[in-house]
Amino acid sequence: MNADSTMARWVKVHPAIVRITHWINAVAILVMVASGWRIYNASPLFDFRLPAELTLGGWLGGALQWHFAAMWVLFLNGLVYLAYGFASGRFRRRLLPITVHGILADVSAALRGKLAHDDLTVYNTAQRAAYVAIIVALIVLVVSGLAIWKPVQFHWLTALMGDYEGARLVHFLAMAAVVFIALVHIVMVILVPRTFPSMITGRIRGPA
């Protein structure tokens, strides 16, 4: 007997370009955050330091080397992903619509442990909102990073964020948003582990 016919249909949910850019992005974010935390510790913006064991680079100079190397990976990979998402209509199809009511309903269902995920081929509203939010936060992160790196060459951009110190704050907050959403994302994958292989194989068991 064919297993596919008894269990469920396999549905293709993630094209190869999405899977490849997802994993490159995951590694790039890990390197950027770990090296960024080391850079933060050299001159903390707030009254706390980030745990040194979780940082990358060994010292400020090493962390900066990692940060300024991995930024190209994050940036170019992000461009490919965004170009594909807009051009193919995937963003419109999979990430919209997002309604406040839908988010509230999903979040309250999730907190009660009743968020349905029978059909993993469709993102629920909370999921759509989270994915859009992390995309926006990553764009803000890259743009504020550029404003910190080049406050003279792009002084208009830096001025837009309230000058150099403002851009530093924006960069930190965008990092915090990305880390938070990424952690929630990982927790959700752990809670619904069936979704994990789909980001490797591209396929998922659809509704029977």
């Binding site: 890990l30 100079g61 080397q65 300024f68």
Partner: protein
């Protein structure tokens, strides 16, 4: 129809069990993957091939920054009210090791691709045309502070001594054993100064008496203090921090 329903039930039951096992496995694998990544993180920076890749990326970023650098783009200037008080002291040594330089003994040596290589005394430097600026000093560590510096526009000085302006680098040697170098385009930028004053006073020892380079288009460590020699060259001169891994161009 009946067997199929039974089968479905089995599958559903089975999938719940599988899900639980999957979750446990995933957690365990995830944890060991994380531990591995952390272990690798300690080692990865020491790896020679990683080191050389990072170094060549830094070289590539030098090129990108030279390309991005607009010789006419000015660093923002601020009103006197924006000046940071007190302005932070920063060096590769502590405040108790600040060098005291006797102005009578001081002379600025010139070398390399420069036509008139006679040394300069302090009164001669003070007699040159001066300019001042209130700009933001951005440290590689992340902090920044606004200060006021006055001194000789570096372009004026390089023109006067007949420096080869088609050369690639300008290097600096300092009385505190610090050394660094910059690209010629940044050296000729209108806001690059041989600063002799901080605020409205003669540059105090902690800010680099008698002369420091004020270059608001670069990070703080590219602003050497206590300069005692300047040379023009086509051979990459490196720098104190640059030789240890800071990005050489470090433009703002």
């Amino acid at each position: 129809m009946k067997p199929r329903k039974m089968g479905e039930g089995l599958v559903r039951h089975g999938s719940l069990e599988i899900q639980r096992i999957e979750r446990r496995l995933f957690l365990r694998q995830g944890l060991s993957l994380g531990a591995l990544a952390l272990l690798a993180g300690c080692k990865i920076t020491d790896d020679e091939s990683v080191q050389s890749t990072l170094k060549s990326m830094s070289r590539w970023n030098d090129g990108v920054q030279a390309w991005l650098f607009d010789p006419k783009r000015l660093a923002p200037e601020f009103p006197a009210s924006a000046i940071t008080q007190p302005f932070p002291f920063n060096a590769y040594y502590g405040e108790d090791e600040i060098r005291e330089i006797d102005p009578k003994d001081y002379s600025l040596e010139l070398g390399g691709l420069i036509r008139e290589r006679k040394a300069w005394t302090l009164p001669e430097l003070y007699a040159l045309p001066q300019a001042s600026q209130i700009t933001r000093h951005v440290c590689v560590e992340g902090w920044s502070a606004i200060g006021k510096w006055s001194g000789v526009p570096f372009r004026t000085f390089l023109e006067r001594v007949g420096a080869d302006m088609s050369a690639k680098y300008v290097g600096f040697k300092c009385a505190d054993d610090y050394y660094t170098s910059i690209d010629m385009a940044s050296a000729l930028h209108p806001q690059t100064l041989l600063a002799l004053r901080f605020g409205d006073q003669i540059l105090p020892p902690k800010y680099g008496f008698p002369m420091k380079l004020r270059i608001p288009t670069k990070l703080g460590f590219k602003n050497p203090k206590h300069i005692r020699a300047i040379f023009v060259t086509n051979t990459y001169p490196g720098g104190y921090w640059e030789d240890q891994g800071y990005n050489w161009f470090s433009g703002s």
